[in-house]
Each structure stands twice: as C-alpha cells, then as structure tokens.
Symmetry: C2
Subunit: 209 residues, 2 copies
Amino acid sequence: MSDRKKTDKFFSEIMARNKEQEKPIEQIQIGKQLKQIRTKNKLTLDEASKLTGLAKSTLSKIENEQVSPTFAVMQKLATGLNIDIPQLFTAPKKLQSCGRRDITRANEGLSHITSTYEHNLLATQLSNKLMMPYMSRIHARSFDDFGDWIRHEGEEFLFVIEGQVQLLSEFYEPATLNVGDSVYYDAGMGHLAISVSEEDALILWITAQ
Amino acid sequence: MSDRKKTDKFFSEIMARNKEQEKPIEQIQIGKQLKQIRTKNKLTLDEASKLTGLAKSTLSKIENEQVSPTFAVMQKLATGLNIDIPQLFTAPKKLQSCGRRDITRANEGLSHITSTYEHNLLATQLSNKLMMPYMSRIHARSFDDFGDWIRHEGEEFLFVIEGQVQLLSEFYEPATLNVGDSVYYDAGMGHLAISVSEEDALILWITAQ
DNA sequence: GAAAAAAGTTTCCTATAGGAAACTTTTTTC
DNA sequence: GAAAAAAGTTTCCTATAGGAAACTTTTTTC
C-alpha cells in the first residue's frame, strides 16, 4: 500500500517532467499574434475586415497594440479568420520538436523496482515527450498485492511479451492476455496487471497524457 | 513511391479520426466560465478582486455577461487566478474520458499491407485516443524500397519483437536494433525501418501526436 | 519615375469597458 | 429572527475600444 503510493508519486513525477512545455508567461502580444496570422494567410486589412465584420481601423489598432480587443472582438476574429481562440495566445512558434532520437538496448532501461512490478523505463534520455514507454516484469499475483487500484491521468497501452497476464479493471471483468495480445484503456479507470502464468509475465507498457 | 503516398494518406486519416475532439463552436460564455472558476476555487468577488487587481464591480459585470472584457483584463484574470488563458475558453467540463478498454488478440488487428510493411493496427475499436499502436512486419530491405523518407507529425516509439531491424533516419547514422531493443524519436524527422535479419522483422510501433 | 491604386494608419467621434462608491441581497451571528 | 457582516449588483463617472472617413505610405501600372 505504501509501496503503491511510492510508485504513484514516481509516475507523476516522471510524467510531469515529460510534459512541462505548457505555456510560457502570460505576457503575450496579441497584436503581433494577429498580424502574423493575417499575413501568413496573405490577407489585407480590408479582406480581414470583410471576413470578421470588424473595421479595418480596429484591426490596424489591434495589430499595433494601440488597443486591447474585447472578448467579443476576439470571437469575431476567431470565427472570421477560422482560428480557434487559444491559437491567438499560443506563442508564435509552436516549435514542433524534430530530430530527437533515443535508443534503449534490451535490458538497459532505467530500473525501478516495487513489490509488485519491476519497471524498466525506456528512452529516459529524452524529456518533454508525449509518451512514456517502459517494460515491466509483473511480480504481482492478485489484487491484494496492491491494496488499491492504480489510477492516473491519461491513456495506456499494454502489450504482452512473455507469460500470461490478467488485466483487472474497475469497470470490466478481468481479461486474460497471452503473448502478442494487447489492450488499450483509459488510465483514469482503476487498473492492475497481474501474472497468471507460471513464470512472471513481461509486458511493454506505454502511457500518454 | 505511389505506395508510400498511399500509406501516408492512410496514416493521416487514422490520426485525424483519433483526434477530432478539438474545440466546439466559438459561442463561449466567458462570464459563466469565469464564475465557475472563481466559485470552484471558493473565492469571493472581493478576494478575486485583490488577486487580480480588478474592481469587484468589473468582475461582477463580466460574470453576468454585462460586459465583454478586454484582452488586458483577461491577462490580469489569468495571472491573478493562476489559470492559463485558454482555460477561459475551453468548454466548462473537459470530460476526461475514462472507462474505455479495447483488447486486441495476437494477429487479430486490422491489417493494412503495403509493399514495404504489413501493418496490423491495434485497438481500432477505440477512437479519440492519444496513441495509435500497430504491429508491423517489415518487408523492406533498403531505403530504395521507399523512395523517400517517412515524415509526419508527432513522436514514435519502436520496439523490436522478432528479427533485426535497422532504423534509418534523416539526422543519424543507421541504428541496428535487436529483439528487445527500442527507440523513441520525433516522427517529423525523416525515418524508415528496414529488416536486416534473414526473416522479416516484427516490430511494435506506437505513434502519438 | 509619375500617376493611380492598394494597403495601412490616424483622427475624431460614439459606444462601451473599468472602477469607486452606493446600494441590495444573502449569509452569519447571537 | 433581528442585527450585523459579508457577498454581490447597480449606478455614475472616466477611460478607452470600435468604426467611418480622412489621411499617409507603399505597391503597381504604364
């Protein structure tokens, strides 16, 4: 139980580390943002004015930060220019990261052992990633080895590499999975994987948030 | 080459299907939104006023939709109440889906065959998911079997189940991967996996966007 | 390269957002 | 349940956003 707690904390920490790219400060220059969107779409102020129903003088003033647009105006901008409002606030360059690569050799992941699982975190060199892959040897044999459901944000994909696994979950009957079988589920639903084969099963687990 | 194109289209379609949950209409009631955030945080107008530096009369008027706040005011709201601006626009309930589950038995995925790969899509019963898992038998033996790099949004995780694989990529030397090895990379970087073992290799591939 | 056209900015006015204080409604205290 | 306190709304004023038209700057035409 206290072991369970520890594991949970461990995962949330790792996940947080993987995501942190959220927003910068709220010091966004909405005018710059708008101008960039308009010019990128090759629109003149007159055209944008027709599309949004706003006076071109208004658009000009917004773009030059002479005026702070009201929410009503921002809605017109969004529908007229066909952008969703959040886009007006997101930092100009949403620099899609590109070119990273991280190889993990068999049995060389970062190990993390609990009483129920022996986790092997993969691709740990990379932070800010969308998925978190790890290979786990399942020691647990019954629900009681845990004390409570595992529950966290996001979605999970489980693939059986060795042995036989039973996926217990809050809203479904236990499902028995053999080598090659896989299951995709919402991690917010209580879930647990236990070994039911003679030897401890080995699975590949991937979490996304 | 035309085969490559087909594959690409196929993937983007699947990915689009998996994501579509974006935004609803831009008919958001920002006042309702704000009131919900404030009450959920158990703040009075006076407290919110102190936190944001806005007059409580202003807050009241915004909440009752008597006034359309300017962007400047929205920034104060965001920093003061410690929310990121997009949150002011997102529909009230961001219903975290919970309780879905989809099992795919070994060799029972949805098959999609090209000249280079034999894909087996997993968990296809579920849409709107963060990850897209598939198992692929790699027929390809060299870069020339493709004609061009594979490149698409998002990140990818590759795990070798059978055989020996070489991951070719735009910015790295080819990497040879054996059973149990895995690699995580940005899919925006040109990439290809080819078999280098006698028999065609089998890999598990997971994409997230 | 001068004239015309297009694109963008500024001016000036009106409509409305933001704030202080008065007021009303709701909740708490005893 | 009356009095006091707290929470929220409305009023009234000032500051500023939004729009039409004049104006300036930039681009295109010949």
